[in-house]
């Protein structure tokens, strides 16, 4: 049976893992390649690099990180952040990424999803979404790191991106992100039911049982977390052991 995936995400700026900067003064923690290797040892099913670099030079550094990681880590690698064009997708895949994650740019230019899927295959086009609940009870899509409300209905958007050929959705809830109270299960459930492509839960994991809860309460395919793994509050191995104890199929 297909295993549920546990995915650590590394936020990278100018070639350094950002969240690691303040961590206990251990220098290596800032090196994304070393972090990816550590996650691989812990049993990560996939590793996501999220590039928060603003500059053009920084993008080149990010591609070097991907290149180096792809030489040492043999699980799927996804790169998100700053991917605006078909050429960006091509460059990123050539550096050794297996998938790219497009977010704001896909909202502003949905055709990027279609073009990317046509040229490189749906399997390597993941669409990242930041969404938030509205007063009327539905959810809307935000861009630019959750700063701009596009007043675009979340469920309309996910159906559209599936039609455009996206291979996967990474769904981040602005309401639960950083709160550490668990994934946004109602939102996750609504999206999983609306589409027939894999959905990755993101935003809100704060404790061990949050992962198993997401898999038991919804049909999501994977769960992603950044700081929780990064600050070593939990390891990927501990999360998987908890899932297995609860009869959720994971790769051990």
């Amino acid at each position: 049976m297909l295993a549920k995936r546990i995915i650590p995400c590394l936020d990278v700026r100018d070639g350094k893992v950002v969240k690691g900067v303040n961590f206990q003064g251990i220098r290596e923690i800032g090196d994304p390649v070393a972090c990816a290797e550590e996650y691989n040892r812990q049993g990560a099913d996939e590793i996501v690099f999220y590039d928060i670099t603003a500059s053009h030079e920084g993008r080149g550094v990010m591609l070097d990180v991907v290149r180096e990681t792809a030489k040492r880590v043999f699980v799927p690698l996804t790169v998100g952040g700053g991917i605006k064009t078909v050429d960006d997708i091509r460059e990123t895949l050539r550096a050794g990424a297996d998938k790219v994650s497009v977010n704001s740019q896909a909202v502003q230019n949905p055709d990027l999803i279609r073009q990317g899927a046509d040229i490189f295959g749906s399997q390597c086009i993941c669409v990242g979404i930041d969404a938030k609940k509205t007063d009327s009870g539905n959810w809307t899509v935000f861009i630019n790191g959750g700063r701009i409300d596009m007043h675009l209905d979340l469920l309309d958007w996910v159906k559209q991106i599936e039609q455009l050929g996206a291979g996967e959705i990474c769904l981040n809830s602005i309401d639960t992100d950083g709160v550490k109270g668990g994934f946004d299960l109602p939102m996750l459930k609504a999206v999983v039911n609306a589409v027939n492509i894999p959905v990755i839960a993101s935003g809100g994991a704060g404790k061990l049982s949050d992962f198993a809860d997401a898999f038991q309460e919804t049909d999501c395919s994977a769960a992603l977390a950044a700081s929780l793994f990064h600050f070593k509050e939990l390891t990927v191995g501990e999360v998987k052991a908890d899932c297995q104890k609860k009869k959720i199929i994971v790769r051990l």
């Binding site: 297909l2 699980v75 895949l93 295959g121 749906s122 027939n196 395919s221 790769r251």
Partner: protein, 208 residues
């Protein structure tokens, strides 16, 4: 030396990265004499079947692959495995390399997400040299929507459960092997499969 066939498709660099990491001499190539000199061949592939066959044809690689597959180990990965079969029905009917009799058809499930993407555990049908020393629960990484149905059940070495038995490892029992999953993306289990491929004893196989 392992020749990795470079016909313009797929993420061939990850196959190369994995072989380099294992210290296995390899070369990305579309050169016929290089393929002849190699002692093993890997046929990678990501994408659509008809386009990939067309690219092999344009590079005049079809007959050399068919010929060399009688003499030395050949491993087809993902679409590269599907191309080992007789025919595919992805988009249109299209001839394959016909090294193992069978057809490539859509994964026949209604209630599952397609593509079949993620980690799934191998169930061994007929043990083969490629599957040695993989441990208790050999999870490997898949991304595909079509699957390789062998005519002869003896050619199926391992499958995975995705609402039906999805062929995962096939072999002609001699030199030709195929993995539907990506060993180069399947962690330690995948690396072991590549080691096994590199360790296949060529002389012993000739005697068989």
């Amino acid at each position: 030396m392992i020749a990795i066939i470079d016909y313009g498709a797929g993420n061939i660099f990850s196959v190369k990265n994995a072989l380099d990491y294992l210290g296995l001499e390899n070369q990305l190539t579309d050169d016929i004499s290089c393929i002849e000199q190699a002692d093993r061949i890997i046929l990678p592939g990501v994408g659509a079947f008809p386009a990939a066959m067309k690219m092999l044809e344009q590079k005049n690689l079809i007959s050399i692959l068919k010929e060399q597959a009688q003499k030395k180990p050949l491993l087809g990965i993902c679409l590269g495995m599907q191309m080992l079969l007789t025919k595919s029905y992805e988009f249109e009917e299209c001839d394959g390399l016909d090294l193992i009799p069978g057809t490539v058809d859509k994964i026949p499930v209604q209630d599952r997400i397609i593509p079949h993407m993620g980690w799934n555990a191998l169930e061994i049908q007929n043990p083969c040299a490629l599957l040695e020393n993989l441990g208790d629960s050999p999870y490997v990484y898949f991304v595909h929507s079509y699957m390789a149905n062998c005519e002869n059940r003896n050619h199926l070495s391992a499958w995975v459960d995705y609402g039906c038995q999805v062929p995962a490892v096939i072999t002609d029992g001699k030199y030709v092997f195929g993995t539907q999953y990506h060993p180069e993306k399947s962690g330690e289990v995948g690396l072991q499969i590549l080691r096994n491929f590199a360790a296949l004893d060529v002389l012993e196989r000739v005697l068989l």
